[in-house]
C-alpha cells in the first residue's frame, strides 16, 4: 500500500482545494455545493480506509453522516455547523501533513467527532420519529387486511395459521415450482445488499413469488439466510447462482405439484420446510447431509415435496488464487499504456526532461553554428530539420509543465472568507480566468506573493463596513482576482474597490522613513509615487496587523516577480480602486535573450527586460550636472556603462548600442558595444560560490560551449544608479 501513498497525498491536496472552494460557495448560497462537499468527504474516507488511516477515515465518516443528514433535510445547516466542518477541513489538512511527514494520522479529532455527534443525535431523533410513524402505519395496514405480514420468525419456527394463509395466497395467485434456499458467506459485508442483488437477478430470469424473510425486513443486521419461492427454470436459477459471489451455499427444492393449479402448501409442509431451512442454516452441507435432508422430506405425511436437485456451491476458493506472473504483467502493461488517455508524472521527472531538453537546445545551437561555419549543404539541411524537431519537442515539454492557475486561485475564496470575518468586513470576491496556464515553477513561486497581495487588498484596500456605508460604494467591498494571456505573457491582476492609494500619505511616509529626499519626492510622477509601496521597509498602515504584516511583503512581492522575469505595476485612484498588475513570462527555464558584446566579453539580457535598443553616438548625450545622460525623443535617460561596471578595459567606440531597460517605470540605458544575436537560452542557476554575486541571475551555455552570464537587470541598475 505504501506504493499508493504519493497518489493518495496528491489526491488529498486536490480534495482540500475543492473543500475550501465548496464551503465558500455554500456560504454564498449555492446549496448544490453540499453535494460536492459530501462527495469529497466520501472520497477521502474511501482512500483513507485502504491505507488504514483510521482517524482520517473516522473523521470523514462522521462528517459524511452529518452531510448526508443535511442532504436529506434531517439536519438544518447553520453557520456553526459550517464552522465545525471548516475546522474539520483544517484538521484534515493537519493530518495530510502528518501523513506526509510522519506517515501517521495521529491528530486529535475527538472534539470534532463530539461536535458532529451532537448533530447526528438531532438527526437520529427525527429519524426515530419517522420510524414510529412508519410502524404505526404498518399496524393500521395489518388491521385492514386482518393478516399481518409474515415475519422471519413466522416463517422459520412459528407456524401460526396466518402464515399458512399467506403461503396459500401465493399458491392461489401463481404456483411456485422452486424454493431457493441461500446462505451468504460469513465475511459478506452488506448481506442485505447481496440478498437484494440475488433477488433482483432472479427477477430477470423467473418470477419471484415470495421471499422469506421479506425483503423490507432485510437490513444491516440481516444474518444472510433467506428463501425465495420461484416460478421458473431451475437450471437457469442454478446458473445464475454460480454467477453471484459471496454465496456460502444454496439449494433448490423442486415442487413437483407445481403444474396443479390447486396445489397449496399444507401447514405441515410449511413446517417441514422451515425445518429444512433451519437444518440448512445450521450446518455445513456435506453430501451425506444432503441425504439426511432427503430423508427428512421422505418422512413427510404428504409426499408433495421432494428434493430433486440439491446443488452445492462452495465459496469459489479457486478464484482467490490470483495468477500473479511477471511476464504476464509486463505484456499487459504495454496494451494498457496504449489505451490510457492520461497518466500522472512526478514533477521531478518533468524537471529532468526539461533539463535534458535544455541540453538539446544548447547542442542544437552548437550544431547550427558548425553548419554555418563549414557551409555544407547536407549538414545545413539536417540541422535545419533537427532545429524544427527540437523546437517542437521544447514546446511539447513546456506544455506538459503548464498548470492551470486555478490551482493557486482556489485557495483564495476560503482565505478571503476567513479574513473578512476576522476583520469584520463584507467582501464579495470574484475570480476570472482560472483556466489560464502557467509553468509549474512560476506558479509555485507566484503563489506566496499572490497571497500577500490578496491579504493586502482585504486588509489595507477594502474599508471597514462602517466606513464604506458612508460612501456611495455600499457596504459590500469587491475584490477581483483575474488571470489572462496577453501575447506570450500571463497577466494576473488583483483589484479592489477600496480606498485606493493616498499619494500624499505615501510621499509623507517615504520622507519619514528616509527612503527619499524632499527634492527627489518632488520630482516623482504619480506612477512613481504609487510604486513606492514596493520599496523595501515601506508600510503606511498605522497599526501593524497580523494579516498583512510589517511592510516587508510588497518589496518581496516585487523581487519575486522580477526574479521570474516578470513585472509588477500598481494603478490606483484615491477613494475608488487599487489594481496591482503582474506580468509574467510563460516559462522560466528557457528564455529569449539578447546576446550583447562588451569588449571581448559576451552577456545575455532577457528580452522581457528590454524596451528597445538604439545605436547611439556622442551627439546623443547631454551633460546634466556633470553626468552624461542620453537625450532621446526629448527625454533624458540615465545610462549604465557595462564596461565600467565590469571593469572591462577597452576603448570607447564612436557608435555604441544603448539597450533601454525599465526600472520602476523609469528607463535606463545599458551601454554595450554591439548586439550579437537574439536567441533562446537555457538558464542554469549559479552554484553556491557564485550565488551571492550581484547583477547576475544565472548563466547559459552557448552553442560553442562558452559559458555566458545572464544579467539580472533590475539589481544591476538599481545598485549602479543608487550609487
Amino acid at each position: 500500500m505504501a506504493a499508493y501513498k504519493d497518489d493518495f497525498l496528491q489526491e488529498l491536496y486536490e480534495c482540500l482545494d475543492i473543500f475550501n472552494q465548496s464551503f465558500v460557495d455554500l456560504e454564498n448560497g449555492d446549496s448544490a455545493a453540499i453535494n460536492e462537499i459530501f462527495r469529497v468527504a466520501h472520497t477521502i474516507k474511501g482512500m483513507a480506509g485502504f491505507l488504514r488511516y483510521s482517524s482520517l477515515e473516522n473523521l470523514c465518516h462522521s462528517m459524511e453522516e452529518v452531510l448526508s443528514g443535511i442532504k436529506n433535510g434531517d439536519i438544518e445547516i447553520n453557520s456553526e455547523l459550517i464552522d465545525i466542518m471548516l475546522s474539520t477541513v483544517d484538521r484534515i489538512t493537519d493530518m495530510v501533513k502528518q501523513i506526509e511527514n510522519e506517515d501517521n494520522d495521529k491528530v486529535k479529532i475527538e472534539d470534532l467527532l463530539e461536535a458532529f455527534d451532537k448533530y447526528k443525535k438531532v438527526k437520529d431523533v427525527s429519524r426515530g420519529n419517522l420510524c414510529i410513524q412508519k410502524q404505526a402505519k404498518n399496524n393500521i395496514q395489518s388491521l385492514e387486511v386482518t393478516s399481518p405480514k409474515s415475519s422471519k420468525d413466522n416463517f422459520r419456527s412459528d407456524p401460526e395459521p396466518h402464515c399458512e394463509q399467506q403461503t396459500k395466497n401465493i399458491g392461489d395467485e401463481k404456483t411456485y415450482n422452486l424454493i431457493l434456499n441461500v446462505s451468504l458467506s460469513a465475511d459478506c459485508i452488506a448481506k442485505d445488499l447481496r440478498a437484494s442483488l440475488i433477488i433482483e437477478s432472479l427477477r430477470d430470469i423467473c418470477q419471484v413469488l415470495k421471499i422469506s424473510p421479506d425483503e423490507d425486513e432485510m437490513d444491516s443486521s440481516f444474518n444472510g439466510q433467506f428463501a425465495v419461492f420461484l416460478s421458473g427454470d431451475g437450471d437457469k436459477v442454478e446458473d445464475l447462482m454460480d454467477r453471484i459471489s459471496e454465496i456460502e451455499k444454496f439449494n433448490i427444492i423442486y415442487n413437483e405439484k407445481a403444474e396443479n393449479p390447486n396445489s397449496v402448501l399444507a401447514e405441515s409442509q410449511t413446517n417441514t420446510l422451515e425445518q429444512n431451512s433451519k437444518e440448512f442454516s445450521d450446518q455445513e452441507l456435506q453430501l451425506d447431509e444432503v441425504q439426511v435432508l432427503e430423508e427428512n422430506l421422505d418422512e413427510l405425511p404428504d409426499q408433495d415435496l421432494k428434493p430433486q436437485k440439491i446443488p452445492e456451491t462452495g465459496n469459489s476458493k479457486n478464484d482467490s488464487s490470483i495468477p500473479y506472473s511477471k511476464s504476464v504483467n509486463s505484456k499487459k502493461m504495454s496494451s494498457e499504456t496504449k489505451r490510457q488517455e492520461t497518466i500522472r508524472v512526478s514533477t521531478s521527472n518533468l524537471d529532468n526532461i526539461m533539463n535534458l531538453v535544455g541540453e538539446l537546445v544548447i547542442n542544437k545551437g552548437r550544431l547550427l553554428q558548425i553548419s554555418q561555419q563549414y557551409n555544407i549543404n547536407e549538414l545545413k539541411e539536417a540541422t535545419g530539420t533537427l532545429d524544427k524537431s527540437i523546437s517542437s519537442l521544447q514546446d511539447e515539454v513546456m506544455r506538459t509543465r503548464m498548470v492551470k492557475i486555478e490551482k493557486v486561485f482556489s485557495k483564495f475564496p476560503r482565505m478571503i472568507r476567513d479574513l473578512s470575518r476576522k476583520l469584520d468586513k463584507n467582501i464579495d470576491f470574484e475570480i476570472e480566468g482560472q483556466d489560464t496556464e502557467l509553468d509549474r515553477t512560476i506558479l509555485d513561486e507566484i503563489s506566496d506573493p499572490l497571497v500577500h497581495l490578496v491579504r493586502n487588498a482585504v486588509d489595507h484596500g477594502i474599508e471597514s463596513s462602517q466606513e464604506r456605508e458612508k460612501t456611495e460604494k455600499g457596504e459590500i467591498g469587491h475584490i477581483k482576482l483575474s488571470a489572462r494571456r496577453e501575447k506570450n505573457n500571463v497577466i494576473i491582476e488583483i483589484e479592489d474597490d477600496g480606498k485606493g492609494l493616498d499619494l500624499e500619505l505615501l510621499k509623507k511616509k517615504a520622507l519619514e522613513k528616509g527612503l527619499l529626499s524632499p527634492s527627489e519626492i518632488e520630482n516623482l510622477t504619480d506612477d512613481e509615487v504609487r510604486m513606492l509601496i514596493f520599496a523595501s521597509g515601506f508600510s503606511t498602515k498605522e497599526k501593524v496587523t497580523e494579516i498583512s504584516g510589517r511592510g516587508v511583503g510588497m518589496d518581496a512581492v516585487k523581487s519575486a516577480v522580477e526574479k521570474l522575469g516578470g513585472k509588477v505595476r500598481v494603478h490606483s485612484k484615491m477613494g475608488e480602486y487599487t489594481r496591482v498588475k503582474i506580468d509574467l513570462p510563460p516559462t522560466v527555464a528557457i528564455i529569449r535573450s539578447l546576446l550583447i558584446e562588451v569588449g571581448s566579453e559576451i552577456y545575455a539580457i532577457p528580452i522581457s527586460n528590454v524596451v528597445k535598443a538604439l545605436s547611439v553616438g556622442k551627439d546623443d548625450y547631454k551633460l546634466v550636472k556633470g553626468t552624461p545622460l542620453l537625450y532621446i525623443n526629448n527625454k533624458l535617460i540615465p545610462v549604465v556603462e557595462l564596461k565600467e561596471i565590469f571593469n572591462i578595459e577597452c576603448k570607447k567606440l564612436d557608435k555604441e548600442i544603448a539597450i533601454i531597460v525599465e526600472r520602476e517605470n523609469e528607463e535606463v540605458g545599458l551601454i554595450v558595444d554591439s548586439i550579437i544575436d537574439q536567441q533562446e537560452i537555457v538558464i542554469k542557476p549559479l552554484t553556491t560560490i557564485f550565488s551571492n554575486s550581484k547583477g547576475f541571475s544565472g548563466v547559459t551555455i552557448l552553442g560553442d560551449g562558452r559559458v555566458i552570464p545572464i544579467l539580472d537587470v533590475s539589481s544591476l541598475i538599481r545598485d549602479d544608479i543608487d550609487d
Partner: protein
Amino acid sequence: MTRVLIVDDTAFMRKLLKNILFGAGFDIAGEAENGKQAVELYQKLRPDVVTMDVVMPEMTGLDALKQIKSVDKDAKIVMCTAIGQEQIVKTAIKLGARGYIIKPFQAPKVIEEIKKVVGA
C-alpha cells in the same frame, strides 16, 4: 480476455483497481473520471464489465448506470461503493447493476466479484 472499464473520480482508486485487475489477468479497456465520461467510453469501448463508483462529479454512478443500461440493457456493471451508500447500491441493483464491491475492498473479493459477473 475480459475487458474492464474502470470508473472512479479519484486517480488513487483507479490505480488501485487497475493494479488488482491487471494482476488477475483482466484487460483494462479504459478509465473514466465521472459518469458522463463513463457513458461516452462505454459506447466507444463496449467493455465486458464496468466498475462504477457511486459518488462522482458531473454525473453520479447511478445516473451513468441508467444511461448505459438504456443503450445496452445487457451491460454488466459492478457498483463500487463505501459503507454508508447501501441504499444507493440497492437502487442501482434494482436498475440492473450486476454486482457491487465495498470499499475498502480486498483484491480477492474484487476479482471474485468481477469474475462471477462476467461468468469467467
